[in-house]
Symmetry: C2
Subunit: 104 residues, 2 copies
């Protein structure tokens, strides 16, 4: 997974931080499917993900409407329900507006 090649700000970042429960329970396959699905959404700009104990996934979006539409996607909505019930002991979702960006 490379660093997301996002455009010049402003755009939006959804910071999803989680702690996993034990066992896979279809988590890995669903996670791959959600990345695939998200990538096809209108307004999707990129995604970055890493997990040690803590997992952090940051997805980037053109606007708040795109985030709202992705959150309401039927297959994604089912995954969110399984996530709360089975995959995550704790999680937090932060919706933020990227104002500045720099790097190499």
């Amino acid at each position: 997974m490379p660093i997301a090649d996002t455009p010049k700000p402003p755009y939006y970042a959804v910071i999803f931080t989680s702690l996993r429960t034990k066992g896979d329970n279809d988590y890995s396959s669903t996670s791959d499917r959600m990345v695939e699905l998200a990538s096809k959404q209108t307004g999707f700009l990129g995604i970055e993900s890493a997990r040690e104990q803590l997992g952090i996934t940051v997805s980037y979006w053109a606007d708040l409407q795109s985030i709202k539409d992705w959150k309401a996607d039927v297959e994604h909505h089912e995954a969110q329900i399984r996530g709360r019930r089975e995959w995550y002991s704790e999680y937090r979702v932060r919706v933020s507006k990227v104002e500045r960006e720099y790097g190499v």
Copy 2:
């Protein structure tokens, strides 16, 4: 590392994404020291970090001034220079304003 117990939005998130070069070259000890130092800064609200191939560190701050002050901290500034020269083959820093937050 637990999920950061951030207050009710709005507040700021600095999303630091990086790819490492080979070898440690004091990276681990400096990284620990930077977390320790950042935690003492005015306006610091929390930090979350994970690395697989890609490394993601999200630090949370009360306002833009706190981020600016931390960026200008002398010891942090030296670490940034070493980071660009020695530790990271690629990185991106995104400064964002957290507008909404939800989770369990």
